[in-house]
Amino acid sequence: MPQSSTPQEQLDAVAQAVDRASAADAATLAELKTEILGRKAGALTLILRSLAGLPSEERRAIGARANQLKQQLEEAIAARERALEDEARAPKQLDWTMPGRAVWHGAVHPVTAVVDEICEVFRALGFTRVTGPEAETEDYNFTKLNIGLDHPAADEHDTFYLAPGTLLRTHTSPMQARVMEQYEPPIRIVVPGRVYRRDAFDPSHSPVFEQIEGLAVDEGVSFVDFKAAIDTFVKLFFSRDTAVRFRPSFFPFTEPSAEVDAQCQMCKGRGCSTCKQTGWLEIMGAGMVHPAVFENCGIDAERYTGYAFGMGAERIAMLRHGIPDIRLLWENDMRFLSQFAE
């Protein structure tokens, strides 16, 4: 560095060195350290030393600037040294294709996930979530729901008995009666829970399965409200463009009764093996609450109307994930369950 230049020119040279440091290699960095910061002949050292001979005003300005540049340069050199170190270590030692350090991820059971999602959709429609006993009385499971044990409709409920008059509920519908006896409408509830049928295992039947019940009762609840709620549910749960079909059916505790079909999710209604070429999948039984049920639960059937529905969670989980056999849902196989980790 020419000694003859002014302190200002010397400072400009130092400022350039700051820029050079950010892209320098190791040798250049060492040079810069000696040339500029060196305690004996470093440029900055010399500048600072030369301050004594300057007028006080100039001295203050040059001094402040020199110290600022010194700090900047030291930081730039240190940063560059770290970067060079990292660079030196990294590409030579690491195979970037090696796997990261994983942890176990647990999965919620696909049936639970379906139950929760369904309940959440109905929450958006104003339904609260309640539960009820699995060990029920004949009265709540059948009689209050207008299911006469002397009527063939009872045959669809092959029942496990726990004691005379006591049974494992064959559906979640007894909670309709329990809730209506306890609360004055407006009632809007969903009831998830296990139910029991005396059916042997086969690919689509299991003696224990998960059902989700729904009930809405208030003044002026009509068939249109019923259709709208179910239609909205299907569109929110499956997809916005899913068509919904309501077919007349029969349940002793609803009238009019309906089977609800959603457009097959596999083929979008074109017909496939999942929907047996019909384009539709049966997803729930439903209908307007039968006045006899209101009467049995002490609710004024003239003043109040309502709708109820029930659906099987396993079936919906199986459709959603392409699970061919309901038994897979009960095996608790780690390889099966792990597939559903989020």
């Binding site: 796997p99 350090r101 176990w104 991820h105 647990g106 999965a107 059971h109 639970t112 609260t128 979530r129 309640v130 539960t131 006993p133 060990a135 029920e136 009385t137 002397d150 009527h151 063939p152 409709a153 045959d155 496990f160 726990l162 005379p164 006591t166 494992l168 609360y183 407006p186 009632i187 809007r188 998830p192 005396r198 042997a200 809405a216 208030d218 009509s222 068939f223 249109v224 409200d225 259709k227 709208a228 709620a229 077919r247 007349p248 059916s249 029969f250 002793p252 009238e255 009019p256 307007m288 006045p291 109307t305 849902l329 009960w330 608790n332 196989d333 780690m334 390889r335 369950l337 980790a341």
Partner: protein, 783 residues
């Protein structure tokens, strides 16, 4: 219910398309579950016209027929006695393969070559008739495809009929639904060869009456409110004509003989079960309808000896039971090949009584199925008249005397009032009076206005319609559910509060999956009985005889199944109910959480250089503590043999963690598990505390703990002696060596002053105080 498309077409007088019928029925509430094309493999059979019949020169019983097959004349040797000049028959030419698989070839019969054959119904597998060849009464020209000349091609539809609709268990009932949909009437097709006379109107009697010399009376009026009977003499039992057999076969019913087939035809056409008795075996010229007496027995026509109870309605003759009313006939009075005189029963039986009877007898017949659901008592006279006509058409028989109709208390036509405004209110969209009337009248419900309401008569075939709501359903159904809008309207929110157990379960699922456990679902029925387990009265098998009293047993079995599938790493949890017998009438239900772990604590990673660690008791303890904290009872976790338990404030055990016994292959790791009651209690919201701003001062100290001194006891003393400056303690090592009595446990103590930087000297003084207290109270010293 299986229906034939041809049969429905005949009732509606129009050709129906299967797909259209299926669509309409689905939207009316009787969806088609299965559809089967019936196409007999008779493509090569043609109509042959016999133009000349000669005696076979070499055989008395054979004839030589000159048959016009549409292309020319062929000579056919025939052995049938009924072959006639000028009649048409199914003709199978040489080279034709018959349904049985036989391939026809030109064959010399007694010196004359027969070119093909004229076929009987049995040879074409269209019936049982083999007395002669099958005469085809048709206008079709010779050479016409046989299948084009006769309506043998059909479609069989299997309908799902809900239990409230007995009327749909017959072709007429299904046709009635379709008729309303198409806007056409239902008309019963004429019976071929039916006699013109029909015996006249039945004799109505209140208590008892006589027909054909048989006295008919009802004693069990509750079980059988109406009983009709006709006597037909001079019938000839034999196979039914082809059309009748074809009808029965088209719905999968087996033809038996002409009289029985005729009764079955009426059953499937009109939903009226009938029973034909051989009059010769009706002893004492009497039919008495009464309850069975205790201990009574009879043999039904399936050959079974049946024990009878007074719940059952018996059809008895002068000497005893001869049929179980509405369920099955008796072996003794069954129509047989030698029967000549028939007593035909047409009755209405009480549905609940039939249900009890068939349940007690563990039988389910076509008749009991219909009576149990409810037949139409008003339709009985027409059904019986048509049945008599049909029997006489297919089995002969003299003109009968009028039938007897024992009907002590005729039921009045039922009527229901309907309010138009209620229809609109419930269905949520205006429905006009004209539309209501049109729909109901179309279904056969006569409607008349009365005051501001509609007076609607209920036809006998609709026992399910008893109140206004039933009519509203009919209106919605026939109008079409798809005609109602799906318009989301305002609603009021529910007054029913959420069950707090559900969010608790959601939290526990989040925590458990976060720790790497998969959620399991186990059956709540199990083979394991214990003192507190509730036994199911009617289990499917010993495998599911009890309600589960714990969750861990199921998870242990799941772990074993995973091991059996060569899966070493098992991490499962389950949230669910367990059941205990507590002396109440119902089992007590408790919500629980359980988990099991076995195998690698973390997935293998190369940085561990092949070393891996399996889950141990301390992992299980941490999971258990977490479970108790999140969802368990308020209480203490204390040691219990080989694990820990949690005791609630009342000292009751509410959960456990430890090692589990299991059927473990040698390569599997130990199985650890925990189970805890889920307890809903008000968990307070976290209250914010200021995070420390002053630096900590750490001191590590190794202590020698004599046997019997626990870490928990040490920490109690530390907290007390360390005072406000001691911010935390953590154990970071344990060492046991032969050179020391007891063990060495190393702690890191963190000291901090909340308001200033703690000096080293102050930390040392605090540590000294802790050490002094440990020595004094527990005799514990630094190593």
């Amino acid at each position: 219910m299986i229906v034939s498309l041809n049969w429905l077409s005949a009732l509606l007088g129009r050709d129906l398309a299967a797909a259209d019928v299926a669509d309409r029925l689905a939207m009316l509430g009787a969806p088609v579950e299965a559809e089967e094309e019936l196409r007999p493999s008779l493509d090569d059979i043609v109509i042959g016209l016999v133009e000349q019949v000669e005696r076979h020169p070499n055989a008395d019983r054979l004839t030589l027929c000159h048959v016009n097959d549409g292309h020319g004349m062929v000579e056919v040797v025939c052995g049938a006695p009924n072959v006639k000049k000028g009649a048409k028959y199914p003709y199978a030419a040489e080279g034709t393969v018959l349904p049985g698989g036989l391939k026809l070839e030109a064959r010399e019969i007694r010196g004359i070559v027969s070119h093909g054959m004229l076929c009987s119904a049995r040879e074409l597998e269209l019936g049982t008739e083999h007395e002669g060849i099958m005469e085809v009464r048709t206008d079709a020209a010779p050479g016409t495809r046989f299948l084009d000349a006769l309506p043998l091609e059909d479609t069989r539809l299997e309908l799902e009929v809900t239990p409230n609709r007995p009327d749909l268990l017959s072709h007429k009932g299904v046709a009635r639904e379709l008729a309303a949909s198409y806007g056409v009437p239902v008309k019963l097709p004429p019976i071929p060869d039916a006699p013109g006379d029909d015996g006249g109107a039945p004799k109505q009697v209140k208590k008892k009456g006589t027909v054909g010399g048989v006295q008919v009376s009802i004693e069990d009026l509750e079980g059988c409110p109406r009983y009709m009977a006709a006597v037909i003499r001079g019938v000839q039992i034999g196979p039914s004509p082809t059309w009748l057999e074809a009808r029965l076969r088209s719905i999968g019913a087996r033809p038996i003989n002409n009289v029985v087939d005729a009764t079955n035809y009426i059953l499937y056409e009109l939903n009226q079960p009938l029973h034909a008795f051989d009059l010769a075996n009706v002893r004492g010229n009497a039919i008495i309808v009464r309850r069975a007496t205790p201990g009574e027995q009879m043999t039904t026509l399936d050959g079974e000896r049946r024990d009878l109870t007074p719940e059952m309605t018996m059809i008895c003759d002068g000497e005893g039971p001869t049929a179980i009313g509405g369920v099955m006939g008796g072996a003794d009075s069954e129509v047989s090949a030698t029967t000549t005189d028939v007593l035909l029963e047409c009755a209405y039986f009480d549905p609940p009584r039939i249900r009890k009877t068939r349940q007690a007898l563990k039988m389910n017949t076509e008749a009991s199925y219909r009576f149990e659901r409810g037949t139409d008592p008003d339709a009985m006279p027409d059904a019986l008249r048509r049945a008599v006509q049909l029997i006489r058409a297919v089995a002969g028989g003299d003109e009968p005397e009028p039938a007897i109709d024992v009907y002590p208390k005729p039921v009045k036509t039922r009527a229901v009032f309907l309010r138009q405004e209620r229809v609109t209110h419930l269905l949520g969209t205006p429905v006009e009076r004209e539309e209501i009337e049109r729909i109901l009248v179309g279904l056969g419900f006569p409607v008349a206005p009365k005051a501001k309401r509609l007076h609607v008569q209920i036809p006998g075939w609709r026992p399910d319609v008893t109140r206004e709501i039933d009519l509203i359903e009919e209106i919605a159904r026939c109008r079409g559910y798809d005609t109602f809008p799906t318009e989301l309207r305002p609603f009021r929110t529910s007054v029913v509060p959420d069950d707090p157990i559900e969010p608790l379960k959601a939290t526990i699922r989040r925590v458990m999956t976060g720790m790497g456990l998969n959620e399991a679902r186990s059956l709540s029925l199990t083979s394991a009985g214990s003192e507190q387990a509730w036994r199911v009265l009617n289990p499917l098998s010993a495998e599911d005889a009890y309600l589960r009293a714990d969750l861990l047993s199921g998870l242990v079995r799941s772990a074993e199944r995973n091991w059996a599938a060569r899966e070493r790493d098992v991490r499962l949890f389950e949230v669910g109910r367990v059941f205990h017998a507590t002396g109440e009438s119902r089992p007590h239900e408790t919500q629980r959480l359980a988990g099991v772990i076995s195998g690698e604590r973390t997935p293998l990673h190369w940085t561990a250089q092949g070393k891996s660690a399996d889950y141990d008791l301390w992992d299980a303890k941490a999971m258990f503590e977490e479970a108790v904290r999140v969802a368990g009872p308020e209480g203490d976790i204390v040691e219990v043999d080989g694990g820990w338990q949690v005791l609630d404030r009342d000292g009751a055990r509410r959960g456990w963690v430890g090692a589990l016994a299991a059927d473990r292959p040698p390569w599997a790791a130990q199985l650890l598990g925990f189970e805890v009651d889920l307890v809903v209690w008000e968990r307070p919201h976290v209250q914010y505390r200021t995070s420390p701003t002053t630096p900590p001062v750490e001191r590590d100290v190794a202590l020698v703990l004599p046997e019997g001194v626990t870490a928990a006891a040490i920490e109690d003393v530390m907290r007390e002696a360390g005072g406000a400056l001691l911010a935390g303690t953590a154990i970071f090592d344990e060492y046991r060596g032969a050179e020391m009595a007891g063990r060495s446990v190393a702690w890191r103590l963190v000291f901090r002053a909340p308001d200033r930087t703690l000096r080293d000297r102050e930390a040392d003084e605090a540590l000294d105080a802790v050490l002094a207290a440990l020595k004094e109270r527990l005799g514990v010293e630094r190593r």
